[in-house]
Amino acid sequence: ISELFERTFEATSRNFEEMISELFPGGKGRLRRIESDQSSKPSVSEASAGESDPEPEDGVREDSDEESARVDDGGVEIEVTPAGKSMRRLSLLSGGEKSMVALAFVFAVMIARPCPFYVLDEVEAALDDLNLDRFLRVVKRFADRSQFLIVTHQKRTMDAADALYGVSMAEDGVTKVVSYRPSQGDTGDRVPEHDEA
């Protein structure tokens, strides 16, 4: 089992580094495996002081069996350093930065093993326009591998849709799906019916 996990972890970790350099231009990110006795604590990427590149926290790597067994069922730590900043605790990142790191992680796992569909409910609510465009660019790139259902109030996200579903609720507390607008290039054979069968 750990052979398969090892390979998937390596792939996800490489994908994560790529995703972070795309979503945080000039920034760096990586996934790190930690020992099982550390992994039940909330994420505490140690503050690495000073302006230099964060010291890799490997320290002295003992390759003993015991060490690798503990790492085998340990957790995964996320480390991200936006451009120009020194790496610090994930908790100190801003609201928008945290959303982007989370999305980078989801996309990293997705590239390693895509799911048939993703449902993203207002995941971009904290993003500014620049980060929203970066996020939408990634979604559009992967839309041929996986389906995306996105709930949003953001106009830019609506513009990125292949199909747009308008939902409303009358005075009676009942939800109705009121409209469906395929994007201009639609062949038409995908027109869903929304019947209150």
Partner: protein, 165 residues
């Protein structure tokens, strides 16, 4: 493979049978606050086996049953069917579609159906494993939960990767 259809009846703000159909690509759902968008997200999570009422914003699973509105009496049961298109045969099964239905009623009756036949949660999970959706359902991110991935415990993140393995 993609999510082709969601059929809801008696679930949250959908008292009458409502069918939503989706194509591949990017489908975007919009509407005013409180109109029922996130109830659709909850319907998917619930149909695919979600066990925690808190994950679908209730205190108990009975909270998913339509509780009434102006001129609308409450319903006695809720049912959601999710149809996954498998025309490309990616999922292990030979069916061209995988249909998963979950129902619950106020008298406590509750259960699942896979392609029409009654089944257990374990069968649903197995069918989902073949599609790549897996148990952790990390492909559904509910409203307000995106940052939780960053503040989650390292063990939880490992589970997501393990599932993809």
């Amino acid at each position: 493979m993609h999510l082709r259809e969601i059929n809801m009846k008696g679930f949250k703000s959908f008292p009458d049978r409502t069918r939503l159909t989706f194509g591949p690509g990017v489908s975007v759902i919009v509407g005013p606050n409180g109109c029922g968008k996130s109830n659709i997200t909850d319907a998917i999570l619930w149909a695919l086996g979600e066990q925690s009422p808190g994950a679908i914003r209730g205190q108990s699973m009975q909270d998913v049953i339509f509780a009434g509105g102006k001129g609308q009496s409450r319903r006695s049961a809720a049912e959601v069917e999710v149809v996954i298109d498998n025309a490309d045969g990616q999922a292990g099964s030979e069916f061209s579609e995988i249909s998963i239905t979950r129902h619950i009623s106020r008298d406590g009756d509750a259960g699942y159906r896979l392609n029409g036949a009654r089944c257990r949660l374990a069968d649903v999970i197995e069918a989902l494993a073949d599609t790549g959706l897996g148990r952790e359902m990390h492909s559904v991110i509910s409203q307000g939960r995106v940052e939780a991935l960053v503040s989650s415990k390292p063990r939880d993140r490992r589970l997501l990767i393990e599932e993809a393995a």
